[in-house]
């Protein structure tokens, strides 16, 4: 049985196309210092540091965690890097949590980052593979046919993705840290934006961002002494499955369903739409909102899009289960950090710390990340109460 652990501090940089004023080291340190300040702690209070980022090819810096030890105060302390592609921000937080839940450490710092301005992720994700034609066109090229299959199966209206794109940017306009600030965005503007990977339009895709996110996770005793309300970790789960096998369910992956079932069981959640107050879910392309609504059990299969169209996931429409009030990945995407931002934003919600994008009275929140060919999943449920 795991010991109780809680988030006692979160820290983020603001997200933008290019942070020219800092190196990668400066970027991660900024997020880490913000998290320490939020927790009213210093570097000496940290027992271990858990770092995560997406593939090294994205910035061309091999094993960047080695050079970041200084910036993250790791000298003389255990340090570990986690790597699970796009889900890495989430799984890094889970590895950090497990170091506290196991009793190994009392208080750990966890940091995830990406500096996309120093990289070309499209190039890094489009390398030729042996025994295949060289036609892999980035993440959008990979996910577009899966989205097309979802549209066919669900018979959803064509503008569901457009609605998500608008909704998440309106949410992002409430979050001063969000990269895209588009308070006046319209359905028409999204619909008329350039078709990148049919059926994915430019404004239905995430931006390329620089940024980092950090959290301090502490054991029960220390969390109770924390100056600000802790976000108690009520469930943690990771699952993975192979990218390719015959008969694989790519639209509604088994690993995602299993991961959700596991984390809900730990947190005592029977009906996620009813029992959770808010969810921060990894939606890098707009249609992944209805797809994950189904995969995560918020709606029956084939009906996720109805929640989106009813406004159930929208703060501005007073929805009963807001998804991505921070603006989500569609508003900010420092790839390696994007999963941790979901986890940290879930924590901020139950700590009552989410400012203009706060879901009023939020007590229980889901943080979610996925990566690779929708094959790595990481989730946690955090609450204002111990459970």
């Amino acid at each position: 049985m795991a010991n109780l652990a809680a988030v006692v501090g979160t820290g983020q940089t603001s997200y933008t196309t290019k942070r020219g004023d800092v190196s990668i080291a400066g970027l991660v340190r900024e997020a880490a210092v913000n998290a320490l300040n939020d927790a009213e702690l210093t570097w000496d209070d940290i027992d271990a540091v858990i770092v995560g980022k997406a593939p090294d090819m994205f910035e061309g810096v091999i094993m960047p965690e080695i050079y970041l030890t200084d910036a993250l105060g790791c000298n003389g302390k255990p340090m570990l890097r986690v790597h699970t592609a796009g889900s890495v921000g989430g799984s890094t937080a889970l590895v950090a949590a497990s170091h506290v839940q196991s009793g190994t450490f009392k208080r750990v710092l966890t940091v995830a980052f990406e500096k996309q301005s120093e990289s070309n992720a499209m190039w890094a994700l489009s390398n030729p593979q042996p025994f295949s034609t060289h036609l892999n066109a980035g993440a959008g090229g990979y996910f577009a046919p899966i989205i097309r299959e979802y549209m066919r199966r669900s018979e959803a209206p064509y503008d569901v993705g457009i609605k998500v794109a608008v909704k998440d940017r309106l949410h992002g306009a409430r979050n001063p840290l969000a990269h895209l600030q588009k308070p006046d965005i319209t359905m028409k503007e999204v619909e008329e934006s350039f078709m990148l990977w049919d059926p994915i339009r430019f404004l239905e895709s995430c931006p390329s961002s620089d940024g980092a996110c950090a959290m301090v996770i502490a054991n029960e005793e220390l969390a109770e002494q924390a100056p600000r309300p802790p976000a108690w970790i009520r469930g943690v789960a990771m699952r993975s499955e192979p990218t390719m096998y015959a008969g694989r369910e790519e639209v509604n992956p088994q690993a995602g369903r299993d991961c959700a079932a596991d984390v809900y069981k730990q947190a005592g959640i029977k009906d996620p739409r009813k029992d959770l107050d808010v969810a921060e879910v990894y939606v890098p392309f707009s249609w992944y909102e209805p797809m994950w609504l189904e995969n995560l059990g918020f709606a029956p299969e084939g009906e996720g899009w109805k929640l989106t169209m009813e406004g159930a996931t929208s703060l501005d429409e007073g929805g009963d289960i807001p998804w991505n009030p921070s603006g989500g990945v569609l508003s900010s995407n420092p790839i390696g950090a994007s999963g941790m931002i979901r986890f940290a934003e879930a924590a901020r919600q139950v700590r009552g710390d989410a400012g203009d994008h706060q879901v009023e009275g939020a007590k229980l929140a889901l943080g979610h990340a996925y990566g690779g060919g929708a094959q790595f999943f990481a989730m946690w449920v955090v609450g204002s109460e111990k459970g």
Partner: protein
Amino acid sequence: MSEQTTENTDVITGIEAPIYLKYNFTAGAAPARFLTQVKEGVLTGQRCPQCAQVYVPPRGSCAACGVPTEEEVVLSDKATVQSFTIVSIPIPGNSIEPPFVVANLVPDGANISFIHLMSECDNADVHIGQRVQGVWKPQEEWGYSMDNIRYFKPLDEPDVPVEKIGKIPVEGWEG
């Protein structure tokens, strides 16, 4: 900014320091067999002894069952469109001109798709269930590569219903 910055210091945010990597791909037993055959103009897959699904290109095992695949199956170069995207931006390192159709294709006799280019078609007419066939390069250009097939073009055959995609025998689709 650092206080040490002076008028004589340039603002340097990056320098070009290219590093070139050349990978020598060592094909395992199953990919080596596949590449040997594709060099002869033949697509082959391997059948899982447990679930009977046929993999192309074969990797020597079934990722679903976790068992080795050994039985070779000769496939057709006729295939069915499982899904697709129309890409409107260039692929880094590839001179292909957008827009172009990248389709997930299941060749007859196999149970899993690979991606390949579609051409000789109106992009707006491409659809799930569509029948296509490989257009091969001249034989003297064949190598250990799926690029031996230049692209796939539509066939004048009835569409395959969605529930049958990935279940067409190597003899083909009668409609």
